[in-house]
């Protein structure tokens, strides 16, 4: 039940990643380090230990990603725990999480690296007497390089998990930025040479599937589709993530949510919304849900008026089979 505490630690790690780090990393050849996980079951148990309940598929793919040293492309409906998976794996392996949030218009200077122009200008002004040759070599050295998340992940000396979030938001052309890093774990900087990873980070890419990703990107990744969980898993998730919930209530929550997902709704309730709902019910002190309570709290699960109306009618309405 240490979800909140864990998140705090994680976000701190995320802030560290965002600020430019200037420590130097030796650029050796990337080598597959010792495998992080012993077996698929070890992955699943480990993830359960950090409050992430993985099913067979998720655990298998994470294990394989480690063994094959390949990135994982995670797809699925919103709110099924794609980002959470990366965070949990970071927590499990004790790695730092480096997160690159993608958006339309993301470019090299935000994702990979950027030269620190202001500092370079200062350097040129300060050393106005020096030879140009020496000066040029100086201003294009690591000292003047601002590492952005991708380069950061490559250069990191400590174990890291790289999360490239919502990769489907960048333009098709920008995807090409990622290709070198995903297949070779290296970044080429024209003025400086190639920076290779000292250790291969675990890489997760998430996508909400708003557009088809390019073949080149997909080919380099293992593919994992996370769907809404089965009843048993959802119940277990509710029990682990919502402190103080009774088993009976968790069971009821999971069942009602499953019923809602069979309806023809615009947006089905996600796992995170299920959790919110369960928390609300616990706060309200509900022991067992009846139709009226369900109807009154539906707006936490569903976000469209028409959906709420339809669900309320279905849940409380008269069953045709009488």
């Amino acid at each position: 039940m240490s979800a909140a505490g864990g998140d705090a630690v994680l976000s701190a790690a995320g802030d560290g990643a965002a600020s430019a780090r200037t420590d130097t990393a030796s650029s050796g050849f990337p080598q597959a380090g010792a495998p992080r996980f012993g077996s698929i079951d070890a992955v699943r148990e480990g993830l359960a230990g950090v409050d992430y309940l993985a099913d067979e598929g998720i655990a298998g793919v994470v294990y394989l990603a480690d063994r094959l040293a390949k990135p994982v492309l995670v797809e699925g409906p919103a709110g099924t725990g794609k980002t959470e998976l990366a965070k949990s794996v970071a927590r499990l392996t004790g790695s730092r999480l480096i997160r690159l949030q993608c958006y339309e218009g993301l470019d090299e200077s935000k994702a990979l690296y950027e030269w620190n122009y202001k500092k370079q200008l200062l350097r040129i002004q300060a050393g106005s007497g020096a030879e140009w040759q020496a000066l040029e070599e100086d201003i294009f050295s690591e000292e003047f390089l601002l590492a952005r998340p991708l380069l950061d992940a490559i250069r990191a000396a400590d174990p890291v998990v790289l999360l490239i979030d919502e990769v489907d938001r960048v333009e098709l052309e920008t995807e090409a930025l990622l290709l070198e890093i995903l297949s070779e774990y290296q970044v080429s900087i024209p003025e400086l040479g190639t920076v290779r990873a000292t250790q291969i980070p675990l890489v997760f890419l998430t996508s909400n599937n708003t557009r088809e990703l390019s073949e080149a990107l997909k080919r380099r990744c293992l593919y994992l589709h996370i769907d809404y969980p089965q009843l048993d898993r959802e119940r277990a998730i509710v029990e682990t993530r919502v402190p103080g919930i009774s088993a009976a209530l968790a069971d009821q929550v999971a069942r009602i949510v499953r019923s809602l997902r069979t309806l023809d709704l615009k947006k089905h309730p996600s796992v995170s919304e299920t959790l919110d709902w369960a928390r609300t019910l616990v706060v309200l002190g509900v022991e067992s849900i009846d139709a009226e309570q369900a109807r009154d709290t539906l707006h936490i699960l569903l976000k469209y008026r028409s959906d709420i109306e339809r669900a309320a009618k279905e849940l409380a309405g008269v069953d045709p089979a009488g």
């Binding site: 067979e56 298998g60 793919v61 708003t210 073949e215 080919r219 593919y223």
Partner: protein, 498 residues
């Protein structure tokens, strides 16, 4: 094992899933790391490296079941499956002697699954298995049911659907569901702990909410039984005819390649699901296309004005981007029985991306014609609108058989004036006119007035102009007649239109 994988990859490719060479290599590499006896793990490991789209997963699963079923000794641990090796012989036997295979049932659980059960006993066992959600028992019952009802004949080159149908018809699952819910309602199986409805606090009559939950629970168990039966049939077919032969007859097209006109009910549901993300993707792609990738001439005025902030030095050149006019769309769709689902999909797709057009108007006809744009204007969900079209649109004039000629001439009379040189007209239908007059002059007039006239025909090209199809008569006046049988073709066409 590598040979098996190669065959498997070939099968995936044949089923339409694109598998590249690197992915094949990855899969081979993955095999080294996953213990082969862990069948589920193997499935996900291979899936992760071979299948890169969630819509392909179903096809992958089927192929996997076929290729890795009998040969892998998996699943034996929980006693639900006749073992490997000798299993082949067992199952072949089972095919011939319909009633005499209680072996697995007896072994799976000592629950009375003996030799020569009567139909009532089997039904009873099934009822119990469903009530207790007992996985092993369900599998045993599935096996029993298949041997009893499917009537499988060795060597017959059919897919499993026929056998599945025969088995399910005999089990009558709908009635069973009612019985189960009824049972809970009367609180007879109170003693059963696994049952959700047997909440000790619950009174005799369930609230609608509870009843619904109980129903859903049993529905999901029955779905599992269905799956078990399907697996069982597949296992027997593999034992009988080998993976490759079976894979060929069982292969199903991917959702985007399903022929819309001849889709089964399940396929239509899958299609409808596929349509939603498809229209969203299309809208995103078109919006991006509009925003990016345009080259414009230098906007001198704007550049000079912006240069003021840099002391008159034009550091930041401004360009004048072209703003192409969005096309206007008029859709005229036949919604008579034969092509109804195709028309529905097209209307849905066109309206879902209506922001890409300056105006969309839709008309539907059978032998009368009616404008249905209003349904889409006020509905925030195209699905609702399409539903309303079916119930409210006034499209029958005489007898409710397609009459393209009459519908088109009425269209011309009432709305012909509103077609402008900026309009693209889409005509949807198979042009099976029931031997009425074609009135193809309307299409000619439309062509003269509109920017483009396209005809989308959901029939295969080979059937055009056969029987009462007169698409040829209209085709001479259209810019293009397009064969549009699958979602993929439809998406491509609509994408090019915008």
């Amino acid at each position: 094992m590598l040979d098996l994988l190669t065959g498997f990859v070939a099968e995936l490719r044949a089923a339409g899933i694109p598998v590249s060479l690197t992915e094949h290599l990855d899969a081979a590499e993955a095999l080294r790391h996953v213990p082969l006896e862990d069948r589920e793990g193997l499935k996900y490991a291979l899936g992760a490296s071979l299948v890169k789209s969630s819509t392909h997963w179903k096809a992958y699963e089927t192929a996997f079941e076929i290729y890795f079923s009998v040969r892998s000794p998996a699943e034996d641990a929980d006693g639900t499956v006749d073992g490997s090796g000798s299993g082949d012989a067992d199952e072949a036997d089972a095919d011939r002697s319909a009633a005499g295979t209680g072996v697995g049932a007896g072994r799976g659980r000592g629950s009375g699954g003996g030799e020569g059960m009567t139909a009532e006993e089997l039904a009873d066992l099934l009822y119990k298995a469903l009530l207790q959600a007992n996985g092993a028992m369900l599998a045993a019952v599935a096996r029993q049911a298949v041997s009893r009802y499917a009537g499988m004949e060795p060597g017959r080159p059919v897919g499993g659907t026929y056998y599945l149908y025969r088995t399910l018809r005999n089990l009558d699952l709908d009635k069973l569901l009612e019985r189960l819910v009824d049972g809970v309602r009367r609180q007879v199986p109170r003693a059963d702990p696994a049952d959700p409805g047997a909440d000790p606090g619950a009174a005799v009559d369930l609230t609608p909410l509870e009843e619904r939950l109980v129903r859903d629970e049993f529905q999901s168990r029955i779905d599992r039984l269905r799956e078990e039966i399907e697996n069982e049939i597949r296992r027997r077919l593999v034992a009988d005819r080998g993976s490759e032969a079976l894979a060929k007859s069982i292969r199903k097209p991917l959702p985007e390649d399903v022929d819309v006109m001849h889709a089964t009910r399940d396929e239509l549901v899958a299609l409808r699901k596929a349509l939603q993300p498809l229209s969203r993707k299309l809208a995103v792609r078109l919006a991006r296309k509009r925003r990016h990738g345009r080259k414009g001439a230098l906007d001198f005025r704007s550049t000079v004005r912006h240069s003021l902030s840099t002391g008159g030095v034009p550091l930041d050149p401004k360009f004048r981007y072209p703003r192409p006019a969005k096309p206007e769309i008029v859709v005229i769709a036949d919604i008579s029985g034969s092509v109804a689902s195709f028309a529905r999909f097209t209307l849905h797709l066109v309206h879902a991306i209506s922001s890409q057009f300056s105006k969309v108007r839709s008309f539907v006809f059978i032998d009368g014609i009616d404008e249905v744009t209003r349904f889409f204007e006020h509905a925030d969900d195209p699905v609702d609108a399409v539903h309303r079209i079916n119930t409210e649109a006034d499209v029958v004039w005489v007898d409710g058989h397609s009459d393209y000629g009459h519908a088109l001439s009425v269209f011309w009379e009432r709305w012909g004036e509103e077609i402008t040189p900026r309009t693209s007209v889409l005509l949807l239908g198979d042009a099976r006119n029931n031997y009425h007059a074609s009135q193809s002059w309307v299409v000619k007039e439309l062509r003269d007035r509109a920017r483009h006239v396209y005809w989308l025909n959901p029939e295969p090209r080979a059937y055009w102009d056969s029987g009462d199809s007169i698409v040829g008569e209209y085709a001479v006046h259209c810019d293009e007649v397009i064969e549009c049988r699958t979602l993929r073709q439809l998406e491509q066409f609509v994408g090019e239109l915008a």
